[in-house]
Amino acid sequence: MIGIIDYGMGNIGSVLKAFEYLGIKAFVSSSPDELKRAHALVLPGVGAFGDAMSNLAKNGLIELLNEEIIEKKKPYLGICLGLQLIFEESEEFGKQKGFGWVKGKVVKFNLPEGYKIPHMGWNQVWTKGEHPLFDRIPSGTYFYFVHSYYASTEEKEFEFATTDYGVDFTSAVVKDNIVAVQFHPEKSGRIGLRFLNNFFRWSLR
C-alpha cells in the first residue's frame, strides 16, 4: 500500500485518484500510525513552505518521515512542496527550515521582464541519466508545473533533472530511496500516470 500524507496543504485527492485509476492500492491519511503501515510514502501538496512544516510538525509527521524514510529507507515520492521540503531551508516569508535531507535551498523566482509568476503550465524536464522512475519517459518530456519558488540543489550529484524557466532549476531529485519532483505527475496526463506507475513498480524492488 502507498500512503499519501494529508497535512492540509492543497488538493491531494488527485494523487489518490491517479493511483486508483492505475489499479494501485493507496490511501490518504494524516495519522503516523496508519502511515507506518504503508510500504512507500507520497508527500504531495501546494502552498506555503512554513505552513507545511508547521502542519507536519503538529501531527508528528516529521518524526514519522525521518523514521520511515531515513532510518527504514522506505521509498519516498515528494511532489511540488514535497520536493521543496526535503531541502535545508526556504526563503519564503523569512527563513524556514526544511527536512534537510538534501543540501540546498528554496528560493523565489527572480525573473527578467516578460516572465509570468507562478511558473504555470507544461515545461520540459531534462534528465541527467537513467532511473526506473523515468522508464519510457525521455529527457525533454513535458510535465505540468505550478509554483513560485524553486529548489536550488547544492549537492549536484542528487539533482536528477532540471527545467528552464529563466533559470535552470531542480525539477527532480534522486537520492537512494528518495525521489522528489517539482512538477505534478497527477496533473500531467498520460505521461504523468506512467511516472506514478513507474514509482509504484520501483517501490516494490
Binding site: 488538493n11 485527492g13 485509476y21 501546494v46 509570468k116 503550465g121 507544461w122 496533473k187
Partner: protein, 280 residues
C-alpha cells in the same frame, strides 16, 4: 521552455455539454466526462468547464460532473460559472477541480478573490474578465453607488474608468456594464491574489474574427500572472496571433475544436511549425 497552452472549453448545462462535440465514434456527444477524455487523448493542456446551468436546483450537477471527470482525466481542470461563495469554491476543489474561475461574483465582492487565495492558494483562483471596447456613446450605468454603499470606495477609485480607458468590464455573461476599466481591474485582481486571468473580448466572442489583440496584449503586459485569451478564435492563425501579438500565455477556444474544424493536435502542429513552443 514553458509551452504555450491550448485549453478547450466545454459549456455545460444541467450536466450536459451544449453545442455537442462531433467526435468520431463518441457514444454520447453530450457527456462532459467523455469529451474531456477525448481532449486528453488529443493532448489538450487543460480542460475548462463553464457551467451555464440556469436553475438553482440543478446547480449541484456540475459537482458530479467534476468528480467523475477527475477520476478519469489527469489534467488541470478549471470550473467557472455561478461561483459566488467560498463554499462554492471549496465544493469544487474538493471533488477534483484544480482551479475555479470567478467572474461576476469577483466584481460584486472583490474580497472573494482575496479570501479564496488565502484559503486555497492563488494558483486555484482564476478571475474571468469579460471586456468590451468603450464606444463614443457614454455609459451611464456603473457600479459606483454599489461600491460606495458596500464601503469599497477606495477600490472604486482604483478601478473606475477614466478618460484614458479603452476597455470596460462587463458582468452577467457580458450583458451588464460596470464602469470598471478592464486593465485597471486586471491589475487590481492580481493584487487581491488572483493566480491567473481569463480574458474574454465580448466584442469578438462568437464572431470567429480572432481575439481582440490590443485588449489581450494590454492586459497581459500589465500583470505578472498568466493570461488566457478568449473570445473570437475562428482559425489557427488566430491562435498564433493570440500568442505573438496578444502576448497570451494560453488560449481558450470552444467552437473551433467542438465542431472538429481542427483537432487540438492539428492546432499544436500548426503553432509548432510557426515557432511557438507547444507540448506535442
Amino acid at each position: 521552455m514553458l509551452a504555450k497552452r491550448i485549453i478547450p472549453c466545454l459549456d455545460v448545462k444541467d450536466g450536459r455539454v451544449v453545442k455537442g462535440v462531433n467526435f468520431v465514434n463518441l457514444r454520447d456527444a453530450g457527456d462532459p466526462v467523455e469529451i474531456a477524455m477525448r481532449y486528453d487523448e488529443e493532448d489538450a493542456d487543460e480542460i475548462t468547464f463553464l457551467d451555464i446551468t440556469a436553475s438553482y436546483e440543478k446547480r449541484g450537477i456540475i459537482i458530479d460532473v467534476v468528480r467523475e471527470t477527475a477520476r478519469r482525466v489527469f489534467l488541470p481542470l478549471t470550473v467557472g460559472g455561478g461561483i459566488r461563495t467560498i463554499d462554492d469554491i471549496r465544493a469544487l476543489l474538493n471533488v477534483g477541480a484544480d482551479k475555479v474561475s470567478i467572474n461576476t461574483a469577483a466584481v460584486y465582492n472583490p474580497h472573494l478573490i482575496e479570501e479564496g487565495a488565502e484559503k486555497f492558494g492563488s494558483q486555484c483562483i482564476v478571475v474571468a474578465i469579460d471586456a468590451r471596447r468603450i464606444t463614443e456613446k457614454k455609459n451611464e450605468e456603473t457600479l459606483e453607488m454599489y461600491y460606495r454603499e458596500k464601503g469599497f470606495s477606495e477600490m472604486w477609485e482604483e478601478v473606475r474608468i477614466d478618460n484614458q480607458s479603452k476597455f470596460e468590464v462587463y458582468t452577467h455573461g457580458g450583458r451588464k456594464p460596470t464602469g470598471i476599466d478592464a486593465v485597471k481591474w486586471a491589475k487590481f485582481v492580481e493584487k487581491m491574489g488572483a493566480g491567473e486571468i481569463l480574458l474574454t473580448s465580448m466584442d469578438r466572442d462568437g464572431t470567429k474574427q480572432g481575439y481582440d489583440l490590443e485588449l489581450t496584449a494590454e492586459v497581459s503586459t500589465s500583470v505578472k500572472i498568466p493570461l488566457i485569451a478568449s473570445g473570437g478564435a475562428g482559425n489557427l492563425e488566430h491562435l498564433y496571433e493570440g500568442f505573438t501579438i496578444g502576448k497570451a500565455d494560453a488560449v481558450l477556444a470552444a467552437s473551433i475544436f467542438h465542431y472538429r474544424e481542427f483537432t487540438i493536435r492539428e492546432a499544436k502542429e500548426f503553432l509548432k511549425n510557426r515557432g511557438i513552443p507547444v507540448r506535442l
